[in-house]
């Protein structure tokens, strides 16, 4: 069973008479427990793909199976449950709650997750246990992104979805974040899907998917992916 399977999936955005086909009859299978990189230029449809897997959006046509569950026709509440239990999100702009401290940001998932992990352990895993009681605004960008990874992991999701997670970071911090994500796949068996336009990050992927004009150009497994340190930033 694949972690994610797209069957003839299209996503069309309509604005008046104008129609934009963000994904066009996509078929795709992504294996579980791998570090998967989705690559493509701006507007290629990679974020749309990620949003569909994450249950932030629904396809116009086709079927999406995540861990065997068809999520393409779920109601709003069912999608919320799905997001709470199956996927974790990491954004380029972190999206932490500014009025909650670091540990509270991580712990807030306890309100909704069925089997949450210890917030303390998650912060320890991302190396921020010493900053537990700081507010997000008191942290650097990289630290904030690590908090957002800790929050995503605290839900104990099967799949971690990362949309340009290093887009707002300098190279050193970016490497640190990528290393962390990679270890989640290697050590914890999570499926990590990273969307990026950075070709170098693609070299780290167990699987690389290239998207262009709403279509999959290729989806290949890499025999010898690079480590985060080896990536030429």
């Amino acid at each position: 069973m694949y972690a994610v399977e797209f069957k003839d999936v299209s996503r069309v955005y309509r604005n008046g008479d104008h129609e934009q086909r963000a994904l066009d009859h996509v078929d795709l299978q992504l294996p579980a427990g791998k570090f998967i990189v989705i690559l493509g230029p701006s507007g290629a449809g990679k974020s749309t793909l990620l949003n569909l897997v994450g249950g932030l959006d629904s396809p116009t046509e086709g079927t999406i199976l995540v861990d065997g569950q068809d999520i393409s026709r779920l109601t709003n509440n069912e999608l919320a449950d799905y997001r709470a239990s199956t996927v974790g999100f990491v954004f380029q702009s972190y999206n932490l709650i500014p009025t909650l401290t670091v540990i509270e940001n991580v712990a807030l998932v306890k309100e909704i997750a069925k089997e949450p992990l210890s917030s303390h352990d998650m912060l320890k895993a991302v190396g921020l246990i010493d900053h537990s009681h700081a507010f997000p605004s008191e942290l650097s960008g990289g630290e904030q992104q690590r908090v957002s990874i800790a929050r995503a992991l605290a839900k104990n999701p099967k799949i971690l979805l990362c949309d340009e997670p290093t887009g707002a970071l300098d190279s050193e911090t970016g490497v640190m974040v990528l290393k962390l994500l990679l270890s989640m796949a290697r050590d914890m068996g999570k499926t990590i899907i990273v969307v990026t336009h950075n070709q170098n990050i693609a070299k780290m992927g167990d699987v690389v998917v290239r998207v262009k004009n709403g279509k999959i150009v290729y989806c290949e497994e890499q025999a010898n992916p690079l480590s985060a340190e080896e990536v030429d930033w």
């Binding site: 932030l56 709003n76 509440n77 709470a84 702009s93 909650l100 807030l108």
Partner: protein, 799 residues
């Protein structure tokens, strides 16, 4: 181009603009409406009183009245502009229990009337009657109908020639215990002196027919005719600019005796109208301040948020080369636009509110019977409105100026809200135990202090208005219950005809034999009695009420509306006298009966609540002090009152008195409805505006929660719970402050009823439930928007 931008921005922030315009409209509407109410009353009543020659002073002699020669002496006084002999007598209407006050003015330039319908006044008419149009309308009487009035031996039958309104009867209370006119059972009428003379002549002819021997005393008959007419003219009404002291001195000298003088301030029509005007002034200065303050504060908060949201656009304009001045003018014009829209709506609302209170069919029209109701606004309202618009523009100007500070690059950077700081209470154990939602909301309240403060202020305003309005009603209800349920323990009040108590030859004997007859009547009806008269305390006209209570027909209430038994070792004074002369229990007080040089000093036994401004004492204390007693009323449970007894002048049932109070309560209910409506609108508008603002500001946070897996309902509950906390806090602060405002309003608005504030449990419950309800409804309206959060686009935006 900039105009297009202005209109599109208005559209973008339509919820904020609409709510600000509504708040300004409410503030200006309430301010204008309430001020228009008292000013309209002032302008229209003054015009009417001037037109009908409302007298400045009234000289009274209820024993022998005034002669034509005495009138001339008064008229000749330096400082007196005009004067008339005036008659005003309560008469029964044949075939009904109604009472009509019959008035005659020899000189219609003083204490005259305004013809509303029918024939003009004819001083020579010997059968014409000009009747109150309100009384006529309530009783289906038309011009041409005949009406018979009776008073003692006199029967006056006349034809209604015209329907009128009169300044002297602008508030027509046929009985002093009534609070509101009741035209279905009483009114007033005017007849000419010619008709009066005809009636006196007919009475003399009747007496002569019964006693033909009297005819021998021809000259005597002629002088009796004159003194009969004089006795009916118990008043000389005067128009004069003199002060009361000057007039009293001159009048006493001219007449060679002391007469009771009442200035217009001591008449019901003038005093009550002035009371309404002053109440209106108080209402016009208290409530609108609350509304205007909320409108201005809402404007400050909202304009700041809008300009903060628009900061990058402001920066873009600056970077493009627009001068600061142009940008300032552009964004200030938003405030101007909102101010103008709000003002136009507010002026409309003000006129509507003014009309709602001040129209002849409304509650005020049933109280004050005047012909003019055109609305007038005092000049300062326009000045205040202009100042408010300027202030709003200034607020807009200052908000934009803040965003324009520094270089174009500074202006281009998006507005960054204040960084979160740790709160002192975070160190407490309790805080650590709080749920995520509670912490989130609590920190949000502290982070956005002005928004939280405004929400609190809106809730506070809502609570104050509800408690003020409903508490006023409770207070009046409690007062009516105590007064009519406890104090008035009789079914009928009989007013006695005291004429025989006064005799020029031997006043003491006449009074004694009169009192004897009155006491026999009292015994017959199994009642208690009261001797009521007018006294002067320093220069103030007050009442003196001496009671003999053996059958518990009348009870007295203290300031807390608890019953008090009259002790025999002192006199009681009402709260107003206590306040006016700064005296209380244990002090002494001196007064003189009107028309007498005697002076009595009494010990004050206590202060009680009284509808009339009076000194009250028991019969036994009055006799001890040597105060003369002339019984004026009998209180009984007998409802069958004999007719034809010369001692009985008139009677009122308790029900009739209570019915008149119902009308007063109607006026009160109108105000209560207005206040409750205003509270609801204010609550909804302020909370919705701030709720939308909070929603916009927390949009990204809510989108994050949604992505993480929070359901819409849960996010909604988080938002609503913040509203509910602030509501609870607003209620906790609002209730004591609302009670304080109510206490102030009661003292300012209804001093004459000597009320003590009462707020019922129902009012507290209703206030709390309605406020929570408004908050909940608005919370749900805002929370419903959660469903529309676009997670993808919300989270893509750069911070």
């Amino acid at each position: 181009m900039m105009l297009k931008k202005l209109l599109r921005t208005l559209l973008k922030y339509k919820a904020q603009f609409i709510s600000m315009a509504i708040m300004i409209a409410l503030g200006i509407g309430v301010f204008l409406g309430f001020n228009m109410e008292w000013y309209t009353l002032q302008v229209n009543s003054n015009r009417f009183l001037d037109e009908t020659g409302f007298a400045d002073y009234r000289l009274y002699d209820t024993e022998r009245g005034f002669s034509a020669e005495e009138l001339e002496r008064i008229r000749a006084l330096d400082g007196v502009d005009d004067a008339t002999r005036f008659m005003s007598i309560s008469m029964g209407v044949e075939g009904t229990d109604d009472i009509v006050i019959l008035s005659v003015s020899e000189n219609m330039n003083v204490s005259g009337f305004k013809l509303m319908e029918g024939e003009p006044y004819d001083p020579e008419s010997t059968d014409g009657m000009w009747l109150s149009d309100s009384y006529a309308a309530s009783n289906g009487i038309n011009t041409g109908d005949s009406l018979t009035l009776t008073y003692k031996n006199y029967t006056i039958t006349g034809t209604v020639r015209g329907l009128i309104k009169a300044g002297e009867h602008m508030i027509c209370l046929v009985d002093e215990s009534m609070m509101m006119p009741d035209y279905s059972s009483g009114g007033f009428a005017y007849v000419s002196p010619a008709l009066l003379e005809r009636v006196v002549d007919e009475e003399i002819a009747r007496v002569l027919d019964e006693n033909p021997l009297y005819r021998l005393a021809g000259g005597l008959i002629s002088s009796e005719r004159e003194s009969s007419i004089n006795r009916l003219f118990m008043q000389i009404n005067v128009i004069s600019g003199l002060s009361k002291a000057e007039f009293v001195e001159k009048a006493d000298a001219a007449l060679g005796r002391t007469c009771m003088v009442a200035s217009k301030a001591e008449t019901v029509s003038w005093a009550e109208t002035q009371g309404e005007i002053n109440e209106g002034k108080t209402m016009g200065s208290v409530l609108p301040v609350l509304f205007l303050a909320i409108a201005v504060l809402t404007m400050v908060t909202t304009m700041h948020r809008i300009t903060a949201n628009e900061k990058t656009q402001i920066g873009t304009l600056k970077a493009l080369g627009f001068r600061d001045k142009r940008i300032l003018v552009h964004y200030s014009s938003f405030a101007l636009f909102i101010g103008l829209v709000g003002t136009v709506l507010g002026v409309g609302l003000g006129y509507l509110l003014g009309w709602y209170i001040m129209n002849p069919s409304a509650a005020m029209g049933t109280y004050i019977d005047m012909p003019y109701w055109r609305l007038h606004a005092p000049w300062f309202t326009w000045a205040v409105i202009a100042a408010i618009i300027l202030l709003l523009v200034f607020i807009g100007f200052m908000s934009v100026r803040r965003m324009l500070k520094g270089t174009a690059a500074d202006a281009l950077r998006p507005y960054t809200p204040k960084k979160m700081r740790h709160l002192a209470l975070e160190e407490t154990r309790l805080f650590k135990k709080l749920s995520f939602g509670t912490k989130w909301n609590l920190r949000d309240c502290f982070r956005h202090k002005s928004r939280s403060f405004m929400t609190l202020f809106g809730i506070f305003g809502c609570v104050v208005l509800l408690l003020g309005g409903l508490g006023m009603r409770d207070t009046m209800d409690a007062f009516i219950d105590s007064f009519y349920g406890t104090a008035i323990n009789y079914s009928v009040r009989i007013n006695l005809n005291t004429e025989t108590a006064y005799s020029e030859e031997d006043s003491d004997t006449a009074r004694e034999s009169y009192n004897q007859a009155a006491l026999e009547l009292c015994e017959k009806y199994g009642g208690d009695w009261c001797a009521q008269s007018s006294v002067q305390i320093v220069d103030k006209a007050c009442g003196l009420e001496i009671y003999s209570i053996t059958r518990d027909k009348v009870r007295f209430l203290d300031g807390d509306m608890a019953p008090v038994a009259l002790a025999d070792d002192g006199a009681y004074i009402c709260t107003r006298i206590a306040r006016s002369f700064d005296v209380g229990a244990g002090d002494s007080l001196s007064f003189s009966p009107y028309g007498s040089d005697d002076k009595y000093t009494v010990k004050i036994a206590g202060v009680i609540s009284s509808l009339s401004e009076s000194v009250i004492m028991s019969e036994s204390y009055a006799r001890n002090q040597g105060i003369p007693i002339t019984v004026t009323s009998v209180f009984t449970d007998e409802t069958q009152i004999e007719s034809g007894n010369a001692l009985i002048q008139s009677y009122q049932t308790k029900q009739a008195i209570m019915d008149s109070f119902d009308q007063f309560m109607e006026l009160m209910n109108v105000m209560v409805v207005l206040l409750v409506l205003a509270a609801i609108v204010l609550g909804i508008v302020v909370l919705y505006n701030l709720g939308v603002m909070s929603y916009v500001e927390r949009y990204r946070e809510m989108a994050t929660l949604k992505v993480v897996g929070f359901k819409d309902a849960k996010i909604g509950r988080l938002l609503i719970s913040q509203n509910l906390w602030l509501t609870a806090l607003g209620i906790i602060i609002g209730i004591p402050l609302g009670a304080a405002v109510l206490d102030y309003l009661i003292k300012a608005l209804a001093a004459e009823y000597e009320l003590s504030m009462v707020i019922s449990l129902t009012t507290y419950l209703f206030t709390v439930l309605l406020t929570v309800g408004v908050s909940l409804v608005v919370g749900l309206m805002v929370a419903k928007k959660n469903k529309r959060i676009d997670m993808v686009s919300a989270l893509k935006t750069e911070e």
